[in-house]
């Protein structure tokens, strides 16, 4: 199938806050209007919208997408919801991509939003509803349990010292200081992370990203429209590869030490970008890509995902992080944005923020966060969600396309 080339031409976002005064719809308006303004567009210029948001249970508003559509610029337009839990923020731009790549539309406004402060006494109560209703919920589980269980399995499998994992929190919270939406970025020592309040062993407070309210939007366009609008190719991040994959909700029925579904999503994206199987290995991939923004709701998840993405050998990511290889000025920068651990974790918007980082980095507009780029710059964003089962991957490319 011949696919039309698709580029991201602008981004808009709100600050990430623990509790925002604005309603969910107002947050969507701030980010989507900003994305339009930054592209010099109005609502008349767009063919449709994608609205990405995670469970309705956070808002207590059913069919959230219908509630958020007008705030996202989509009244009386074709509108689609992105809805794969934490994977949403990367899947929503993928939905924008296929609506344009197919030739159906030329300009799509994508918004990823989450408001988690509404549910009382905490978002934990809503997270309970993702567990199996028949044989898990009666046990009174909470979301931290499954992360603790997965992290324990991962650490045991590869004999990983906690220091190596904790270094990811230090790095991402430090990187976040330079992010404009930053909620929690600050300088932490490794000891502070290691000795933070215990939640569910081995998970401690600073291993976890904070719940938040926020919204991030993008304008995506066909190459034809980009030319018509006279947008310089230097100001565009082009979609190079996409992939997504879902495993079963029987999360305790697979070995949790390795996210196979992330590997499958990543390989789909690498193949679409033109890589052959023998080029999909850590050494080649880390040359081919300039940086990555893997999903980091917990510090170990960034490492777990780097391995699923084939960017490090199984069990190899923790040591690399500890040695500074993944620092913003390291050999292979990972999460230069500051990630969910630093900037904050309004679920769909958080991975939207990671996608936005590809745009900033690849168009050279990341300011203090800018990483060094090769001649053919590329970045990868990945998100993960639902019940330890969803992987979504987006690869974008900067500059002139062939």
């Amino acid at each position: 199938m011949k696919k039309n080339r698709v580029g991201m031409v602008s981004v808009g976002m709100t600050k990430f806050n623990r509790r925002a005064k604005e309603t969910a719809k107002e947050l969507c308006y701030y980010s989507s209007k900003m994305a339009l303004d930054n592209a010099g567009l109005t609502r008349k210029d767009i063919d449709g919208v994608i609205v990405g948001s995670a469970p309705d249970a956070f808002d207590g508003v059913h069919q959230k997408h219908e509630y958020l559509t007008d705030g996202s610029g989509g009244m009386n337009l074709p509108s689609t919801r992105g809805y794969v839990g934490g994977g949403t923020g990367v899947f929503s731009p993928i939905q924008g991509w296929y609506q344009i790549a197919s030739g159906m539309f030329d300009t799509i406004l994508v918004t990823t939003e989450e408001k988690m402060s509404t549910v009382q006494p905490s978002a934990q109560a809503a997270f309970l509803t993702i567990f199996d209703n028949l044989i898990e919920r009666p046990l009174g589980p909470n979301l931290i349990w499954i992360f603790a269980l997965e992290m324990q399995r991962y650490m045991k499998k590869h004999n990983i010292p906690k220091e190596h994992i904790a270094s990811v929190s230090v790095k991402n919270k430090l990187n976040a200081i330079d992010h404009p939406a930053n909620m929690l970025g600050r300088k932490h020592t490794l000891e502070e992370v290691l000795e933070a309040e215990i939640m569910a062993d081995p998970v401690r407070l600073l291993d976890v990203s904070p719940v938040a309210d926020g919204s991030v939007s993008f304008v995506m366009m066909s190459e034809k429209k980009i030319k018509e609008n006279g947008i310089s190719y230097d100001d565009v991040a082009w979609v190079d590869g996409v992939g997504w994959n879902v495993d079963t909700t029987l999360w305790n029925n697979r070995d949790l030490y390795y996210p196979k579904y992330v590997e499958k999503a990543a390989k789909q994206a690498y193949h679409m970008a033109g890589l052959k199987d023998d080029e999909i290995n850590p050494t080649s991939l880390r040359k081919w890509l300039d940086f990555a923004e893997p999903y980091d709701p917990f510090n170990y998840k960034e490492l777990h995902h780097l391995e699923g993405l084939q960017l490090f050998e199984k069990g190899g990511a923790p040591k690399a992080a500890f040695e500074g290889i993944t620092a913003r000025d390291g050999d292979f920068p990972v999460t230069p944005s500051g990630g969910l651990l630093g900037v904050g974790n309004p679920i769909a918007a958080a991975a939207g923020m990671k996608t936005a980082e590809l745009f900033f980095q690849l168009t050279g507009s990341a300011g203090k966060r800018q990483v060094e780029l090769n001649e053919n710059p590329r970045g990868l964003a990945q998100a993960w969600g639902d019940l330890m089962q969803v992987g979504t991957v987006l690869i974008m490319k900067g500059g002139r396309v062939e």
């Binding site: 031409v9 976002m13 709100t14 600050k15 806050n17 623990r18 509790r19 925002a20 005064k21 701030y30 900003m34 303004d37 930054n38 592209a39 010099g40 567009l41 207590g60 006494p121 905490s122 934990q124 109560a125 309970l128 209703n133 028949l134 044989i135 898990e136 009666p138 046990l139 009174g140 589980p141 909470n142 931290i144 349990w145 603790a148 269980l149 997965e150 399995r153 045991k156 404009p180 939406a181 215990i198 939640m199 569910a200 062993d201 081995p202 309210d213 926020g214 919204s215 947008i231 310089s232 100001d235 079963t248 029987l250 305790n252 029925n253 697979r254 070995d255 949790l256 168009t363 300011g367």
Partner: protein, 181 residues
Amino acid sequence: MKNSLKQNYLENLRGTKLNSKEFYNEVLSVKTIPKFNYSWATGVAIGKFLNGLKEGKILASICSGCESKQVPPMLFCHECFKPMVKMEKISDQGRINTYSLAYINTDATRREKPEIPIVIDFDETINTRDGEPSGILHKLDENSDLSKIKIGSRVKAVWKNENDRIGDITDILYFELMEEN
């Protein structure tokens, strides 16, 4: 179309922070407690599994297409997509696949003595996807010797009294470490 992409347009992000005092002030929030009650059909496979628990048995489903023998049982094999027509009682013993010592409750309040969620790999199961065993989420006895809890430790089910069982996952009170650890 104006090309404003290179300008630093992130300088004045909107989004207004509320502190908890402001947030919980009646003026700034409308409160509601929706009440929904659900009655879930337990289905063909889990229904039988729960009935088995009532009788003190753990049932695994057996695939008609591959070697898979799985807990929790399913109506179909998600790997080969053939029906899982047979169910068979398996041993209530297994190994700890992974565990945590959890100091927080579902509502995010703290607890002094940790709960011990575990994933159990049941001895007699066969998972054909990657040769991994199969199992469920449950808890370990809170009074267990913490130094003996390890990935791979042997555990067995501790059941409720027969008369108290209702056909629920909590008919297994918890799992306990076996002597041989």
